[in-house]
Amino acid sequence: MELLRFFTAGNVDDGKSTLIGRLLYDSNSISTDIIETLTKQSKTTGGDTKIDLALLTDGLRAEREQGITIDVAYKYFSTNKRKFIIADTPGHIQYTRNMFTGASNANLAIILVDARNGITDQTKRHSIISAILGIPHVLVCINKMDLVDYSEATYKQIEADYLTFAKQLNLKEVSFIPASALAGDNVVAKSEKMLWYKGKPLLEFLETTEIAELKKTEASRFQVQYIIRPQTDELHDYRGFAGRVVSGVYKKGERVVVLPSGIETTIDKIEVHQKEVEIAETNTPVVLHLKDDVDVSRGNSIVPIAHLPKTNKELTATICWMDSAAFIPGQKILLQQNSFRTKAVVKEVISKIDIHSFAALESDGSMKLNDICKVLIKTAEPISYDSYVDNRGSGAFILINENTNNTIAAGTID
């Protein structure tokens, strides 16, 4: 059974939480005790349906009180065909950073559009974030169709508007579904009221759409997380490099380079759960052993000689500023890419991306919460990386404020 991770994004009142509630409710994923609690709550908050499905995902007291989603909520459900992990991300502009969080691990984006309003600034922002994060598949769910009399013309217009806007984003795949989460049209069952729509309802779409994974042809990447050294009598010389195959495959006997030192050696042995294997594929937790006794520490990369990543102390990237405190030029920061961490500094804010047009605007050098900018970063230690477009696993990083320890930005390398 496959696992599909997707996220949902939309404006505050697009009915996102209701849509997820509907998916869970209509696919029988909600237990009776939780429905009872919801029924109780729905009455106290005076919702206009018998059960306010949005309350299923709004887990914090402040969210229930204010009727908004503040933070990413993860929800889990499965059908006979697939297992799903949903990241329900807030629509509120001040919480856009949480959308980055929810979206970063997703294979699919569901962007909700209110049929009455069409494409809004938020729709554009969410689509641009999906594009920056390289989400393989974007599904535009045109919701609240019941409030526009299930009009095909309205749907077609929104579809056309979106495609015009999205042309420049290079989204890999875009699909559209007209729906009403509140009424249940085209969520689990096909709508009787929109016979003009020939596509699949949402659940069937989610069950059958191809899950785009890291390409198998991608260059092999591995980073050391932890060094296993038992130092016992019988395992005196055991020194294993524990980590995850970030991408590609690793083979016993392969010639490799340790980066950033550049020392060449050979993979002597690959262990998976203490069993020796010949080949380890993407995402497998492994322990690598090297033929030569070379200096390797946490955060170092071990990569095949044939396909080297770039290794240097400078990179350009697109970053989303996530801290409520604005960027201070010259500010010392930490850059973390998987298990590699180094001191760094943003040397230049090259341009600011306009969230309405995706155009690169001239920058005045400032960055504040939710700004998406192209920047030049210098690092204290050399970093080994690929372009994010080529490799989601080795082309992403976060920036950390050395003083507060907060994660202040997320970046994708050019």
Partner: protein
């Protein structure tokens, strides 16, 4: 269950092992919270996969409420002996004495809230900078909002509005002295995933997860509470002996049994698939107090 049916377990397992190794790589003094329940038993299994043939880079820590199931305690001790790792036990009983706390009262006296004191004390005593726990996001909706690396201040408090963004597989465990991080490697697992994993990996569990005869008190809401010396029963309370098992293992005083004849993992998996009531809803009295019971406990330092 064919190989293909459990493919997704490889992905969940890989994620959990990756997270554990990040803890080992990023922190000076981690700990693994071990209760003898199925979720923390899975954590031990995952730690074996992550760190053997080396030793665990952390001790196991058990907060002993004094109201534990004897079967869970025996399992804990057997497990520690089997894997030959260090176990630290701290008792809520002792915290109550030293701190002169009010012990839990009532017919079913739950020390659930009191164990937060002991947990925070043990963190301070050993200067733990991170604690790995077996909480899952599907358990409860406040948990569904929590990060995998959940930063707590020096009072152990969780601030849901100030959580760090958590992206890709990049975990930021940087903290100041006195703060600590609660780490939840199986955040993305559901109850069913845990059972499917236990089956696939042939993991042994305490006997109380399987059907057995037990003398129980029936509560007003119909829950079955095991009779024990910790309960304060009235003369009118009736004891019944039923075939039961536990879906979750907490304290004897706040974890209810469910009627079940399931004695094999397969039976349990089928039972959960059919279950109409959620894991915590079926078995935990502590969540019934208010809508935000878990959120409030977490804000106060609960794991």
């Amino acid at each position: 269950m064919s190989k293909q049916d459990t493919d997704y377990l490889d992905e969940l397992e890989a994620e959990a092992i990756y997270i554990m190794r990040e803890v080992a790589g990023q922190f000076e003094r981690p700990a693994l919270l071990f209760s003898g329940g199925k979720d923390s038993i899975c954590l031990i299994h995952l730690a074996l996969k992550a760190f053997r043939p080396g030793k665990f880079p952390f001790p196991l820590v058990h907060i002993d409420t004094g109201h534990n199931f004897p079967e869970a305690l025996k399992y804990r001790d057997d497990m520690v002996q089997l894997i030959n790792e260090k176990l630290i036990v701290r008792k809520v009983e002792d915290t109550i004495k030293v701190k002169k706390l009010q012990d839990a009262k009532g017919k079913f006296p739950s020390r659930n809230a009191l164990q937060t004191y002991t947990l925070l004390d043990v963190i301070e005593e050993f200067e733990f900078d991170s604690c790995i726990g077996g909480a899952r996001r599907d358990e409860e909706k406040a948990r569904a909002k929590e990060r995998i690396f959940s930063v707590r201040d020096e009072f152990g408090q969780w601030d849901p509005k100030m959580q760090r963004p958590e992206l890709w597989n990049i975990y930021n465990g940087k903290i100041n002295k006195g703060e600590n991080v609660r780490v939840f490697p199986i955040s993305n697992w559901t109850e069913l995933d845990v059972w499917n994993y236990i089956k696939r990996e042939n993991i042994q569990l305490p006997s109380i997860y399987f059907t057995h005869e037990r003398e129980c008190v029936v509560t007003e809401s119909g829950q079955l509470m095991s009779n024990s010396e910790y309960l304060q029963l009235d003369a009118t309370d009736k004891l019944v002996t039923k075939k039961v098992r536990y879906r979750t293992v907490g304290d004897m005083t706040c974890t209810a049994a469910i009627e079940s004849e399931a004695y094999k993992i397969d039976d349990i998996i089928n039972e959960i698939k059919e279950a109409k009531i959620s894991e915590r809803g079926a078995t935990r009295m502590d969540d019934k107090i208010s809508e935000a019971a878990m959120e409030d406990r977490k804000k106060g330092g609960y794991f």
